[in-house]
Symmetry: C2
Subunit: 308 residues, 2 copies
């Protein structure tokens, strides 16, 4: 297979950046991978893991002669990266990102991008709760969706090239405007993370129930939330700060619904409770049918006596 | 191994009842298993699955000559079961249950129990989101905790026998009073389920985000919640109605904390958000260390290219 790009530069080499590195290498999508990250320590680890061909702590240096630049940093760092790389991008380079919020990333980066490059923001809907260059693995994007949020005037050829890149990783690609992306992700991703962090915090603060009890009996539901609540704090702080309006809107809806449920519990309205608890099952089935989750009970967590 | 009991009667043969049947048979804990359930259809399925040795839709009939009776029904059905079996229990029988709320089950059952039996309420902290007799499997209780809530005057020998039963299934056994159990479970189990049901309901009701979008992009967090929200609606309705006070207390704490987080997001207080998102990681680590969850990323969900 001919490499799709001569040089791909990865700025940021955490879970997403390192997973990209594994796949670009595995699939031969570039002749050369340049890895850039601000932290010398992380860069060293990336080199030990052989994630790229060249390594630098200078983003400006890293993007020279790159055909594709993928920025995988906490969304709050987008503007500083854009400023750093603006002066050294060659004409025709495609610059994209993988951030969880899109309107903010576009607002931070687009004004700094020279007119001779193609900036197209993007967001692969994939990940785990782990972070750092050791967390990446080949195939993370396989079967997952990637959302691109092109702007008016985005070059259709560059867009097509970027789509092909994600498709080569096994992803399916959707396009939508950044505002809509941010609303969708507020409900499917940002709110779930916030709620998970919040409930784990609530449990941690109780006086009547000990932390040891919370831990011992967590298999009854709680442990599910602790996975999301173990995600990278910097990344998620930035998401909260950079998708504020959509998150606050979804939080308000959630709280309103929760107050309704709370009232039904207080007044013993079993029929209202039952109605909610019934229709939520259908969504689970649809998610499994769409190949977006496993059908195995308990997420397929191993049980001691199960045959593997 | 000598059977621990001559006859064990299982009343209710859903996820927990059928898992008990698998383990009692596998471990030879009884010479005879009697299966009772109100639904003729479920009973037929239990028989097809060879879960017991005798099958009946009459609980009164089923408990005759039983040495151990385990009631595994939605907690709201506890009183009617107690009334049905009261007249046919032989002296010395141990009667227990597996319900998720304990004060209510005791209040429903204890008054009907004849003085010649040993009633000790219990709750194995184990399960999956699946329900029905097909959902059970051997080893469900292995490595999980089981909480017993003996009363003043509970016979110590009967209590010891019941402990040994759960230990034979691989569980570790704790004892506490029913009120404390209900508070602990409200935070580690009932609240997580309520929150999960609620957020899935909120997503289902949105006008600006389609159900298809929620499903496609659910791998970004949302799908985790749909597992709990696919749990048995009757069982969870009953939990809400029968652990009302503790659940309302925990809901109030949760909502208060969520309002604090919401305010921090609104005012851009990144430090407060970061502080919460950092300390929640520690609890995840403790749960994994305690053997109550897997360390594998993403609950060990299979990724296409992973080596098995």
């Amino acid at each position: 297979m001919t490499a799709q790009f001569n040089r791909i530069t990865l700025i940021g080499i955490g879970l997403i950046g390192s997973s990209l590195a594994h796949d670009i290498k595995r699939l031969g999508l570039a002749n050369e991978i340049v890895v850039a990250t601000r932290s010398a320590e992380t860069l060293k680890r990336a080199e030990e893991l052989k994630l790229g061909d060249r390594y630098t702590t200078s983003s400006a240096e890293a993007v020279k002669d790159a055909d594709l630049v993928i920025v995988s940093v906490p969304v709050g760092a987008s503007e500083s990266v854009a400023k750093e790389i603006a002066g050294t991008l060659k004409p025709g380079t495609i610059v994209t990102d993988v951030g969880s919020t899109k309107a903010s990333v576009i607002a931070q980066m687009q004004p700094h991008m020279p007119s001779h490059v193609h900036f197209i923001a993007g967001h692969p809907i994939a990940g785990t709760e782990k972070s750092g260059p050791d967390a990446g693995f080949p195939g993370l994007f396989q079967g997952r969706w990637c959302i691109l949020t092109p702007l008016e005037g985005t070059d259709p050829v560059a867009l097509k090239t970027l789509r092909s890149f994600w498709e080569a990783l096994g992803s399916r690609v959707d396009e939508m405007d950044a505002q809509h992306h941010d609303k969708v992700l507020a409900i499917v991703s940002h709110l779930p993370h916030l709620i998970a962090y919040n409930i784990v915090g609530t449990a941690d603060d109780l006086e009547t129930v000990t932390e040891s009890e919370v831990i011992k009996y967590s298999a009854s539901g709680f442990r599910d939330f602790t996975r999301l609540a173990a995600s990278d704090p910097t990344m998620w702080r930035d998401v909260c700060l950079h998708n504020r309006d959509a998150i606050l809107e979804m939080l308000a809806r959630f709280s309103e619904d929760l107050a309704y449920l709370q009232r039904a519990i207080r007044w013993g309205e079993g029929d209202k409770i039952f109605e909610l608890f019934t229709r939520t099952r259908a969504i689970r089935r649809s998610i499994v049918q769409a190949g977006q989750d496993v059908d195995a009970p308990d997420f397929g967590r191993p049980h001691p006596l199960e045959k593997k």
